[in-house]
Symmetry: C2
Subunit: 202 residues, 2 copies
Amino acid sequence: MEDTNSRHTEKMRKIKAARDRMMQTKTEERGLIIVHTGTGKGKSSSGFGMIMRCIAHQMPCAVVQFIKGARATGERDFLQKHFPDACKFVVSGEGFTWETQDRERDIAAARNGWEQAKALILDPEVQFVLLDEINIALRNDYLEIDEVVDFLQTQKPLMTHVALTGRNAKPELIEAADLVTEMTLVKHPFRDGIKAQKGVEF
Amino acid sequence: MEDTNSRHTEKMRKIKAARDRMMQTKTEERGLIIVHTGTGKGKSSSGFGMIMRCIAHQMPCAVVQFIKGARATGERDFLQKHFPDACKFVVSGEGFTWETQDRERDIAAARNGWEQAKALILDPEVQFVLLDEINIALRNDYLEIDEVVDFLQTQKPLMTHVALTGRNAKPELIEAADLVTEMTLVKHPFRDGIKAQKGVEF
């Protein structure tokens, strides 16, 4: 056991040295274009986890909620109640497309959200902007992907982070992004007749 | 365009009807075993996004942070400062394994974390428990997977949610879980020399 432990210590010492050398090459800081996509859970909630981190670090931040606007969500109630100054919150969506059943209204809502998103991204005070479910608006062609990517690449302030969530992220966005995670569904309780539950899903 | 819109409305009406029928079959509520794994980003942050939702819904919740304990994180500062009553926060880890370089101490820290985790899960007041990075402790055999799975399956109160995060989740845990998401790395800015940044990664 003593031997196992000392071998462990030696191995970890080497890993740490290698890691320290690697980390020394990671010196740049800049605002990232972050994409969370895929059919699994956690795309929006990890966006809100980053918002929590920003508030903790006193980095002014903002959320524009596309699509999901009609229904109250825990994260919106939470931020609007406790942190209205630290995190600006814009609701542009009016619900899932199958709920509004009105393409013109969906497009108008998405455009309105995008206009507000651009203003927040350009705001020099704001350091992190979460565009929640914007990928759905892009996928449905409520917004033009070229316009969004061009804006992020040419007008986003260097140090501002922008996170874009939603399944079916367009390839052009993935190409333009710095950090892309695909949330993959491995197992979902819906299959067993379990409904969406507060705390977990909204 | 008028035609496109009316076709859209009709299509969405059908989708909503099918969806409503499907949702009617989802009637059960119960506490879930939730796993976030994979090498991508968002495993911990989506756990903290769910904590935000729980606080919003006034569901008492708790976090036990395995492994990542040594370094201050935004989410820990945030919860300890703003919501010490709504969310109990236990730090058991003393850092990544390559930092502590002491297997015995890592094991003791993990065991201590697990003992506190069990007490929180059994606490009838607590409705959601996040075991952050516990998969690392399980992977390193600091904790026994059979013991953890057996406890979750036989002693977790029916309505309590437990979320377990960290890469390399053990197959036994995935088998036992209700909701499993794999965060898959598609693109990471480390490759371009960008370092971990506040708000995004801690």
